[in-house]
Amino acid sequence: MILRRAALLPGFAVLALCAGTVLVLLMTADGSDGLSRADWATLRFTIWQAILSALFSGIVGVTFARALYRTAFPGRGFLITVLGAPFLLPAIVAVLGLLAIWGRGGVVSAGLAPFGYGPIDIYGAHGVIVAHVFFNAPLVARLVLQGWARIPGEQFRLADHLGLTGWYRFRHLEWPMLRTVLPGALLIVFLLCITTFAIALTLGGGPRATTLEVAIYQAIRLEFDLGRAGFLAAIQTGLCLVIAVAVLGLAAPSDTMRGIALRPTSTIRAKGAARFDKGLIALLTLFLASPLVAVLIRGIGGLAELPAGLWETSVRSIILALSSAILVSLLAVPIAWGLAGLRRFAAVAEGAMMVTLAISPFVLAAGLFLMIRDHVSPFAVALPMVVLVNALAALPFALRALVSAFVNAERVEGRLAQSLGLRGWGLWRIVFWPHVRPALGLSAGLAAAVSMGDLGVIALFGSTATQTLPFAMLSLMGAYQMEAAAGVALLLVSLSFALFALFDRWGRA
């Protein structure tokens, strides 16, 4: 038991690090200038784009999930699995793909031109929101699908049996489920969108649509105004904390990535409704898949253009990703084990860990920088910083999966293990490990993929000497070598997905 309490130490270390970061930022914060007109505009935009992004992601995600739940078609399981893909997709790659579809020179503009409609413009608020929906609607869809899967089949039959249709069916069957699943899902989306960086930086179109996260970056990296950076970081963290605490009380989201095999339960459906659902699925799949296909097509052409020396960059990126995966595993397994042992307090303690979501990677990096700046150049430690910050960013997700794995293991086999006198290593190997391994594979894969695509910390403290794949891609895009950038994008996506799949498969083997 003592050992188990001690296992929580890394958790305290993480919380202390986060608290320390916030403290350092608060101490540096200099709000004496107050918020300028532009700062208020930034704050307003940050909040309303996150609200709209969460709202639209919710609408699209729920619509998608509902259609997917009700419709049987070949490839359905595959489609549900790849709904997890955008979450692993490096933002910068997605931006490239979205531009290829929605940009002024993109497919949609080209398609509209013959009908006399001018090219559409993706830069600005709507571009940021479209990108966020692209990223987060699949996440919502997956979370909600799990909710649908939890509705007992009898209830669907009951609804058919009682003739509940349309609104009443939604009201009695689906709404009660959505009410428990949706707040948590939307909260995650909202927090991810509040702290958006790469998307706002590339698609925001300048001061018109800039977020606090970007403003923090600019204050540090462009203006060297650390007081202002601290001030903005404090505002952002406070904002996220208030909202996180408020919404987390409503419902807890469940694990995000696991594939689910579902079968529609009702057998007799109106042909028209089924066709409508299929059309809807096709449309939404097109929305989600087309940027990826664009990246793929352009990327294959660009592979020939890959700059020499990219292998070194790739190796560096892979080592970064693996380091993050290892670090998050080393942190999450003992913390989750300790948390699961807290029983009644587990939820509260896990909530505390979720709070790290409210501290954006950027804020964390900025705080770390302030702590070490007197001792070492932040640019010299850019790579360890990427590892640490991304591991911490993946930690809440890892804990969510691992804590429930430990709790499950104890619930299912705990009594049996006790009666057999299993303890120590044997307990771990026989009882915990089979439950923990899949969750661990998933979390490590997530951390690896997220670090691989990181453009936050590396944009803050990276340089050509510490080049990673996303950074190389940004540089190539910057040097209008779009072909080569597309090649790197393809390489980056392939490596991210491959690493994730590798870890995940290891977990499930």
Binding site: E154, L164, H172, L173
Partner: protein, 235 residues
Amino acid sequence: MIAFNSAKLANGGFTLNADLSVLGGTCTAVIGASGAGKSTLLMALAGFVPVARGSIHVAEKRIDDLPPADRPVSILFQDHNLFGHLTVRDNVALGLRPNLSLSTKDRERVDEALAQVDLHDLADRRPAALSGGQQQRVALARTLLRDRPVLLLDEPFAALGPGLRLEMLALVARLTEERALTTLMVTHNPEDAARICPQAIVVTNGHAVPPQPTQTLLADPPEDLARYLGRTTPQ
């Protein structure tokens, strides 16, 4: 009353053949081993398992092409018969008005149905605050309001204690008689079948055997059924 005409019921990879008819106004048991297809028979009647070949008639009217809600049947599942977010009264009222907009008269009928199953004082509770037996009684009250000639019971009392189960069986028997229902009851328990169902259908080897008197069936079971009942014929 109920007729399966050379019907082939396809439930996923599993098929069940049924060519039989069931007497109206009385209770018929459906017995057989686990996985034999007892539920499939009921689900096909209720519209949740498609009929691949043949047809199903109720009161001379073909029903297998009707949507579940339009069929002349009420069904009770083993579990999850109630919506957790609705009160007992609303759950029962769904049998009358899916949109829950009730007239005064409707309200009276709901209370009446609840009184029939002895639950009128629990009308404002949610299902989670009821025992398993009470929950099934609520569902039964709803079938009364739906007022369909056929009542399908898919092991709804399997999870109840013996005393409670007997009470429920008595309630079903009473309602069947009072309302002249045609009741089909899936059960694992031969005594339950014997208690309230004069006839019984045996489901075995992918076939539903036409109803036979329950007493004779249990007294001299065919080999499959005997093995299931734990009574192997002496060598």
